[in-house]
């Protein structure tokens, strides 16, 4: 038992409150937001190494013993994702003052930003299904406030749909929890897992599992539940889109990963095969969406969807190699999606439009931004030696070992089309004749560049230095494939 595990939730929560009080004093708010996010990252790094050396951190709130009280479980997967979340958060905290207007910043942007981080960290760290719902709501509430920031016509229009869809799936989540509680009599994830194992996951439990999957799939944007994503992620401010694209869908994928490697693992013929089918369709439809539009923000938003398909595929194959691929891709995708949304946000702002057909020749004005975009495209598409490649390689190895040839082919074709959709932006926006009409805003561009460069450097390190990271990722996969480790560490039997 250690109080350390709750710090990644508590620090942003308190930081949000502090920033709500000083929201109108902009210089102070900016400074404290940067400082507090660095502090939060430092804590996350410390916890990561602590967990690597000493094993899972467990905090039982108010010293109520495990299955009865609220519990926070900082295992290796959770702390890795918390660490990645905080890396993206820092880039966002430094990008925000450049991208938001003073008025938008003054309307509690930083407060909601920290509450979002708090909710995301909480969702990763909780060991209790009902608390997962509560933290989903914390992060969704913050995201509702962030998505309307600015209050444009399209923004209000899309945020209504975003809110309604999430509200509906949250209510289904509550219903699914009620079902689980009725069948197994607990909401503690470790104890649910134990009891589901005892009754060998009968039909009713598999039905509940699919209901839960439906809820998480809505949040994660899996086919056919992704329709809400592209429009609502492309309308808010770039820094908000980056946070959403990097963190929110990943929380959904994390929940699927957790629930279907820990609790509902006994009917893989039904549930995990369903995942494989949906993963393939998610990839195909997502990438078709990305090719169908000329709006750069929409192209990047659509590119979230095939990535979700890749991660779901690893869960569907359900072998150690494939799961390690999913975990690797999860970390990779959080970082690169953050970078990409910031990049197209900067691009659209500097070009004055997000329509690809009206852009051109930007590389003459902003060479550094252009080449960073090119690099980010390669990373996203999974060109070796970058990090997307390592994740996909593991997924494909897992797929071939299980002789799931069709999904492997779909993955490869999708990756190629992702590269095509990204290079289309690069050619359309950056190549071409120098456009003299554009008023070059070097100062703004310099402000944009550094947070993005930081994220990209991280992403490249993750790929080139795969040797350093792979052992940690592999041990997470081993740990996930042996759910009794989680159960034992929580229930201490």
């Amino acid at each position: 038992m250690s109080n350390l595990a709750i710090l990644p939730i508590l620090i942003p929560l308190l930081a949000g409150m502090w920033l709500a009080f000083i929201a109108k004093k902009l210089p102070l708010a900016r400074g404290s937001a940067k400082l507090l996010s660095i502090l939060n990252l430092a804590v996350a790094i410390y916890i990561f190494f602590h967990v690597q050396q000493n094993g899972t951190l467990i905090l039982e709130m108010g010293a109520w013993k495990a299955p009865f009280g609220i519990i926070i479980v900082g295992d290796l997967l959770a702390v890795t994702l918390v660490l990645t979340t905080n890396l993206v958060a820092i880039a966002a905290a430094f990008f925000a003052p450049k991208s938001l207007s003073d008025k938008q910043e003054g309307f509690y942007f930083y407060a909601f930003f920290f509450w979002l981080i708090s909710g995301v960290s909480g969702a990763f760290l909780t060991g209790d299904l009902f608390n997962l719902f509560v933290f989903f709501e914390v992060l969704l509430m913050a995201s509702y406030a962030l998505i309307v920031l600015g209050g444009g016509k399209a923004q209000l229009r899309e945020s209504i749909k975003y809110l309604l869809l999430n509200l509906f799936s949250s209510m289904l989540f509550v219903t699914a929890i009620a079902f689980i509680y009725a069948v197994v009599g607990t909401v503690n994830m470790a104890q649910i897992a134990e009891r589901v194992q005892e009754v060998e996951q009968q039909g009713i439990l598999t039905t509940i599992a699919v209901l839960l999957f439906f809820v998480f799939a809505t949040k994660a944007a899996v086919f056919p539940l992704y329709y809400w994503l592209p429009n609502s992620y492309s309308v808010p401010n770039p820094v908000v889109s980056a946070l959403f694209g990097a963190l929110l869908t990943k929380v959904g994928i994390y929940s699927i990963l957790r629930v279907f490697t820990l609790i509902f693992t006994h009917e893989p013929g039904l549930t995990h095969n369903l995942f494989l089918w949906l993963a393939g369709l998610t990839m195909i439809f997502g990438v078709i969406g990305a090719l169908s539009t000329h709006n750069v923000k929409l192209i990047v938003a659509y590119n979230i969807i095939p990535a979700v398909g890749f991660m779901l595929m690893g869960i569907g194959i359900f072998t150690e190699t494939a799961i390690s691929g999913t975990v690797y891709y999860l970390v990779h995708d959080m970082i690169i999606k953050g970078a990409l949304f910031l990049l197209v946000g900067a691009l659209a702002h500097l070009a004055g439009t997000s329509d690809l057909r009206k852009m051109g020749g930007m590389i003459h004005h902003y060479p550094f931004l252009g080449w960073m975009f090119f690099l980010a495209s390669l990373v996203l598409a999974g060109i070796p030696p970058f990090s997307g490649f390592i994740g996909k390689l593991l997924l494909l190895q897992g797929g071939l070992a299980e002789e799931e040839v069709i999904i492997v082919i779909v993955t490869l074709v999708t990756s190629l089309l992702i590269l095509f959709s990204m290079i289309r932006i690069f050619i359309g926006a950056f190549w071409g004749e120098k456009n003299e009409e554009i008023t070059v805003n070097k100062r703004a561009a310099d402000g944009y560049v550094w947070p993005i460069a930081g994220l990209l450097a991280l992403s490249v390190t993750l790929g080139v230095g795969a040797e350093w990271f792979y052992p940690a990722i592999q041990s997470i996969a081993e740990y996930l494939m042996a759910p009794e480790l989680y159960i034992d560490s929580v229930l201490k039997e």
Binding site: L156, I160, L167, S170, M171, L172
Partner: protein
């Protein structure tokens, strides 16, 4: 008793979904509220209804009420209350800015 509660929750879900599928934003907001009521009643029924028993487990007491569903519902009610009020304000603002409260007219792919 549980059966009646389950049927009531189902009715609330049905009417909620019906309202959710309407065009007017206010009806949609009411629909979400009904659905969340349905979900809350459902949790209560799922914990088992035992009238008149204390929510305490002491040695010697055989009949006791499960206190956990009530704690879950309370949390969930507070959350859905907050979200619903936010939804109403957002719907009001969106209909002011867009000049319509008809969700059919709020589709479209134009960007600012």
């Amino acid at each position: 008793m549980e059966i009646i509660m389950a049927i009531l929750a189902g009715l609330l879900f049905t009417t909620g979904v019906y309202n959710l599928l309407q065009k007017q934003l206010l009806r949609i907001a009411i629909g979400t509220a009904l659905i969340s009521h349905g979900a809350h009643l459902f949790i209560l029924a799922m914990g088992g209804l035992k009238g008149g028993a204390p929510p305490i487990l002491v040695e010697g007491i055989e009949q006791y009420t499960d206190p956990l569903p009530q704690a879950l519902i309370l949390t969930s009610i507070v959350i859905s209350f907050g979200v619903t009020s936010f939804l109403v304000v957002l719907a009001y603002r969106a209909s002011e800015v867009n000049g319509t409260d008809n969700i059919e007219e709020l589709r479209g792919n134009d960007y600012e």
